[in-house]
């Protein structure tokens, strides 16, 4: 799936964030954030509400640029790239509130997900060259594979909005994978899922990682985050307050204070 990714050394940083600031009006949404995501790892990004997790997601995916600092993907600065350019480079995401194309079928949602990996343009679609038909067939095969991976192949001709919520999440995940990303950002993928669904999701995320895809995960479900992440980054009020393996972060005093309030002396 990821030929270029595989050739890089295992510990190379896929994404580097250095000294990133972001202000909205007078509010410092992010201050001097810096960390790295290693190739093929799962990193959990946690923090109380308003810590700046979503802002950071939006910076990485190019929704808006950082005021200061640098973001590098595969060693190249991507501060000024637009959202769709970053998808082409290999950064895909899912949304906290599931953003599917509701009037399209399950299959069509995946086919749109393949947009960056297919080429046919406006004129070509009108003229329908043999090449166009071949590409379309290939896209179909790939889309079916992806639907099989998340277990939705039986429902491919249903409207995506008719699926139950848990399956919509899986569909969105499959759609993100269709872009063949090197880095996958998951924004609270377990929100609204029950316990068994969350467990299955955890398994799925691990399988995705095993395909060589690096994952950054924002999640409130601590058991999920702690069990699958190799590294945790903790944000609080726009600042990074801790970074490390789950075990160390869990026992970190500043983290406890941020989540539970400071203990009285």
């Amino acid at each position: 799936m990821n030929a270029t990714a595989k050739t890089m050394t295992d510990n190379a940083a896929l994404l580097e964030i250095k000294g990133v600031d972001k202000k909205f009006g007078g509010v410092n949404a992010l201050r001097d954030i810096g960390f790295c995501l290693n190739q093929g790892s799962i990193t959990g990004l946690i923090g109380p509400n308003g810590a700046g997790k979503t802002t950071l997601f939006n910076l990485i995916t190019g929704v808006f640029p950082a005021d200061r600092g640098e973001i590098r993907f595969k060693g190249r600065p991507v501060n000024r790239c637009r959202v769709h350019e970053l998808v082409r480079l290999g950064i895909a995401r899912t949304f906290q509130n599931v953003e599917l194309f509701e009037n399209m079928t399950v299959l069509e949602n995946i086919l749109v997900g393949l947009h960056t990996r297919t080429k046919c343009g406006m004129l070509e679609s009108m003229l329908r060259f043999p090449r166009t038909i071949r590409e379309e067939k290939k896209a179909m095969t790939r889309a079916t594979e992806l639907l099989e991976f998340v277990g939705l192949q039986k429902y491919m001709h249903q409207r995506s909005s008719d699926l139950p919520f848990g399956w919509q999440r899986l569909l969105e995940l499959a759609r993100a994978l269709a872009a063949e990303p090197g880095l996958l950002l998951l924004d609270e993928p377990a929100a609204g899922l029950n316990m068994s669904e969350t467990r299955e999701l955890g398994e799925l995320i691990k399988q995705i990682k095993d395909q060589g895809i690096t994952i950054l995960l924002v999640e409130h479900d601590m058991s999920l985050t702690m069990s699958i992440s190799e590294k945790i980054v903790v944000l609080d009020q726009g600042k990074k307050i801790a970074e490390g393996p789950p075990r160390t972060v869990q026992s970190d005093e500043t983290v406890m204070a941020a989540y539970l309030g400071k203990a009285k002396k």
Binding site: T61, R82, V83, H84, V87, R88, A92, R93, F95, E99, L100, F101, E102, N103, M104, E108, L111, V112, G113, L114, H115, T116, T118, K119, C120, G121, M122, E124, S125, M126, R128, T132, E135, E136, A139, R175, A176, A178, A179
Partner: protein
Amino acid sequence: MGDRSQKIIYAVFVLAVILLGWGIDNAYYLQMLIFIGINTLLALSLNMLMGYAGQISLGHAAFYGIGAYVTAILTATYQVPPLLSLPAAVCMAMFVAWIVGIPTLRLSGYYLGMGTLGFGMIVHIVFREWSSVTGGASGFVGIPPLTAGPLTFDSERHYFFLVWTVVLLAIIMCRRIIDSRVGRALRAIHDGEKAAAAVGVDTKKLKLQVFVLSAGMAALAGFLYAHLIYFISPGTFGFVTSIRIVTMVVIGGMASIWGSLFGASLLTLLPEWLHAFSEFEMVVYGLILMTVMIFLPRGLTRGLLDIYERYRKNNDR
């Protein structure tokens, strides 16, 4: 829709066109059918933009007018053969759409509506006031009939076949776009621009592309209109026409290729049928449109299909 049923529909369409074309001798009826064809092209062009990509245009008559005026000026004033003025007219409209689209398509919703409305008005004023070139408010007279080599389209019957061949080709092209990677991306923009960008669709570029395509189709309709009646005036390409095109799309069915045909047919024929109501014509016209929208809010095509499905389900029980 399967490939086979699509082929059957095309076959029925072609058969209907041939039968109507040979069967009808009344020049007035043929002319009505030609107008339906031209309006179908207009509705189709706006449907690509509004129905599929979700971008409203309240100034579409401007592109229709550009197509008509460019060919009028080239063929009548400069004696350019129509075969050359056709690409000129279409390219001109596409070029204008490209220039106008870059700033305008940054807007969305009501604001895009206002932006395109303003654009339509400006173009209308240019048609009316630039008298030395366009003939001004009294119109442009003396547009030659359409000739292509040995063929001359000066009889109603010939023109009928020409227009409906163009309509058929346009329908096939649009269908192909909709069923392709580009068409899916367009519909994705309609459903959610944020999500479309997040799967890698260059929303800005694609919206501009479909706007330009849509303008080109409208200009083609304008070209056919100008060479049909040999006379054009600014009134035909004003705000009322823009709204009428929007109405055709909405009544026929947003995001429905065949809906464009139904919407255009209804809005072309209705005023003719309603002449009997004389001074109440507009009232009845309005009432019919309101009734369609109240009972078939998703337009004729979807609405009638829904009714059919419900009927079939009830019978199955």
